[in-house]
């Protein structure tokens, strides 16, 4: 890889107090369902009232996180806007499906249809910041945000951008929670995030969030050294890929100061993390993150955000590795350095 890529700014709207103030990880207390809901900021500070009135929740959340991220990085117009989302604006998709039925296909409001398109958040960011350059949206479950990152890294390497805005966003709705509950995505009994890793039951807790980064060539405290995705690997091929990935960066597992894992407390899939930890990182400090943000397609973006926070706080962390997978299918490694 030519030239280093740095994380020049980030912002997260999540079930944590992540958007404003200092981040103190705190597993939320759930009242009556297994959903970790994002703590939403006051959008009026970011979006003009005339634009805000039509926007659904996902659009507001995505746009606001993106704008705050640009502000944190001290950039107005990035050279590229790339996002990942597994489900886009679920509320709009659901509303349009319900409207079609309720009004028997007659006189339908166009707004939910427009906003249900997966690239609508991207378009809004471009519109608001007048960014007329590269713009792309990936929609592939646990590879959505990850390909946004890879696309950004490639643009920087190609010399076609100096600053890339890359992010991931997803929301959960009651309706979608129910749909996925029918195929075992979630834990059936109410489980508190604090008890997630001792639950030993199938399913995860649902989560959501919008997390953005500015990736650039200009030096900053934390660098993004690389990303590796593996689609439906075997345990053996995952291990091989991990070894190759680290050696490509002249590292061994012993060089990793902190391992961030995507354990979701799901007894069907957490064995992946046990395997990686036991085989490669028996003595490495490891920390999970899904008790803080829940499980969702683009939860990897929250993990990256958390890694950056930790590295900014703890000077001793030289290399941080994130390993995350989504329901056993999309596996990703992300390596951070200085």
């Amino acid at each position: 890889m030519k030239g280093k890529v740095y994380i020049r700014g980030c912002a997260a709207i999540s079930p944590q107090e992540s958007f404003s103030g200092s981040f103190v990880p705190q597993p939320p207390t759930l009242a009556d369902d297994n959903i970790l809901r994002a703590k939403e900021p006051d959008y009026k500070a970011f979006i003009a009232p005339n634009n805000l009135r039509r926007m659904s929740r996902m659009l507001k959340m995505g746009l606001t996180a993106a704008l705050q991220c640009l502000q944190n990085a001290g950039i107005t117009v990035p050279d590229a806007i790339i996002t990942g989302t597994g489900k886009g604006s679920l509320q709009d998709t659901e509303r349009f499906l319900h409207d079609i039925r309720q009004y028997a296909e007659a006189a339908l409001n166009p707004t939910p249809f427009i906003q249900s398109t997966y690239n609508s958040v991207n378009g809004l960011i471009a519109l608001q910041q007048q960014c007329t350059r590269y713009n792309n949206t990936f929609v592939h479950r646990g590879f959505s945000f990850e390909h946004a990152v890879l696309d950004g890294l490639m643009l920087l390497r190609e010399g076609n951008a100096a600053n890339v805005l890359a992010g991931g966003f997803d929301e959960i709705t009651k309706e979608h929670f129910y749909i996925k509950s029918r195929i075992g995505y979630w834990k059936t009994a109410l489980t508190q995030p604090a008890d997630l890793f001792s639950s030993n039951t199938p399913g995860a807790l649902a989560g959501e969030g919008a997390v953005f980064f500015v990736l650039g060539a200009a030096p900053a405290a934390v660098s993004l050294e690389g990303i590796k995705m593996m689609y439906k690997p075997s345990q053996e091929s995952l291990g091989q890929a991990l070894e190759t990935f680290l050696s490509q960066h002249q590292l061994t597992p012993a060089d990793i100061d902190l391992l961030i894992t995507g354990q979701s407390g799901d007894s069907n899939h957490d064995h992946w993390y046990q395997f990686v930890q036991q085989k490669y990182f028996p003595d490495t400090i490891a920390t999970p993150f899904k008790h803080l943000c829940g499980e969702y397609d683009t939860a990897g973006a929250f993990a990256l955000w958390m890694a950056v926070q930790r590295m900014q706080e703890e000077e001793r962390l030289k290399h941080v590795l994130i390993y995350n997978q989504f329901y056993g299918e999309q596996h990703t490694l992300m390596l951070l350095g200085r």
Binding site: I81, G86, K87, G88, F96, L97, I100, R101, A104, E105, A106, L108, N109, P110, F113, I114, S116, T117, Y118, N119, S120, N122, G123, L124, A126, L127, Q129, Q130, C131, T132, R133, Y134, N135, N136, T137, F138, V139, H140, R141, F143, S144, H147, D151, M154, R157, E158, E175, Y178, I179, K180, R182, I183, M229, Y231, K232, E329
Partner: protein
């Protein structure tokens, strides 16, 4: 110096044919695929024309080699039919033989089948085989099933940038090759007609009740279509090493955003102009070397003005032959970029320019008119293919003749 990217195989299915040869035949015979839906339950079925693939989902399942549809959505089946043709055409018997990428595109994923059972899924009292469609609503389902069946797994992802989705998929695959991450990328898109999209575009009041008339003064909107198309992209070194038949070069590309309006392009076609100009610059070709532009040409009021202005700005008084093939295929949304990419390659391979059907009256805003005749033995060396969409997402691709 980044490697050149070649097209070594193509496969497709659309309203005008179930494979590339059938599509070419319909283009030459000037047979449109527009008509009325046989398979979608909608109140608009006799009013709004669509370009539907002339096969039931069950027939598609048979074509894809299955005994029944068994949880495969129409989107997936269209994709499987097209991708297997592409791999066969490229002479790839086993796609697992080397690490490759599958870059797919879709705008509504498995909505075609999930919308039929959505309210059953929401009803706790209901159980049944419909539950096998429960996880097919998103855009990743079709891609993963195609990856699982073909065995392509090094990079597997899906792009959704509305009507430019599969043009962006081609661009992304080409870049993965240039960066040396893979030597082969199979890229394209699949889109099935749905009640959701028909009602969506109808709510925007931009579906024509007549057959669409791109670049015509009387145009009044688009017609939706369905289909799937995939192109096998390979690095020059791989293509040479295995002696692949090279159909054309993907020599330039550019992605821009209008940043103008959620659903409308800028009136002067700023984004379209930039996309075409930069793609051409990347290809190293001049405006004089472009013989054909396969325009986005949706026949909506806004698109054709904006795209036409961009053509006039880029080419001045010498605008090359251009046509929209959407009167043949309808607007296939995420599949459009890849379907039209194949038409661009066919234009080069066959030395042929395809007509813009249903045109009769020049637009008042423009000095140019589309090509309305089938031109044969026309010396086509370089083609620009445009895909512009919602959210301001623009993509232009340049295809060039391979000179050996």
């Amino acid at each position: 110096m980044a490697e050149r990217v070649f097209i070594t195989g193509m496969g497709m299915i659309s309203a005008i044919g179930n494979n590339v040869v059938e599509n070419l035949r319909s283009l030459r015979l000037q047979q449109s695929g527009l008509g009325h839906t046989r398979y979608i339950a909608t109140i608009h079925k006799d009013v709004l024309p669509v370009a539907e693939v002339k096969l039931s989902t069950e027939k598609l399942a048979t074509m894809a080699g299955f005994e029944s549809t068994g949880g495969y959505t129409r989107t997936t089946l269209l994709g499987l039919v097209a991708i297997s043709e592409a791999l066969t055409a490229a002479g790839i018997a086993d796609a697992k033989e080397l690490p490759a990428a599958l870059i797919n595109a879709s705008t509504v994923g498995g909505m075609c089948d999930t919308e039929k059972v959505y309210f059953d899924i929401l009803d706790p009292q209901k159980e049944g085989t419909f539950l096998q469609y429960i996880d097919t609503l998103d855009c990743a389902d079709c891609t993963q099933r195609m990856a699982d069946i073909t065995g392509i797994r090094e990079y597997v992802t899906t792009i959704s940038t509305a009507c430019s989705s599969s043009a962006n998929a081609l661009m992304y695959g080409a870049r993965l090759i240039q960066q040396g991450l893979v030597q082969r990328a199979v890229c394209g898109g699949t889109e099935a007609l749905t009640r959701f999209t028909i009602n969506g575009f109808n709510s925007l009041k931009n579906i024509d009740k007549q057959f669409c008339r791109p670049f015509d003064q009387q145009r009044n909107g688009l017609n939706l279509g369905e289909g799937a198309a995939y192109l096998v992209l390979e690095s020059e070194s791989l293509a040479r090493q295995r002696g692949a038949r090279i159909l054309a070069e993907l020599s330039g590309w550019c992605n821009t955003n209008e940043a103008f309006h959620p659903t409308a392009p800028s009136p002067e076609g700023d984004g379209a102009y930039e996309a075409m100009k930069n793609a051409l610059a990347m290809s190293g070709r001049t405006v004089e070397e472009v013989q054909y532009v396969n325009v986005h040409g949706t026949a909506t009021l806004n698109n054709d003005v904006s795209e036409g202005k961009a053509l006039e700005r880029l080419f001045g008084a010498q605008v090359p032959r251009f046509s929209s093939t959407k009167p043949f295929t309808g607007h296939t949304l995420a599949a459009a970029g890849a379907i039209e990419a194949i038409y661009a390659v066919l234009s080069i391979g066959q030395q042929m320019i395809f007509p813009n059907l249903h045109f009769s009256e020049k637009m008042e805003e423009l000095a140019i008119v589309p090509e309305t005749r089938l031109l044969e033995e026309y010396p086509v060396q370089n083609v620009i293919s445009n895909s512009f969409g919602f959210g301001g997402n623009n993509a232009s691709l340049v295809f060039s003749k391979y000179e050996g």
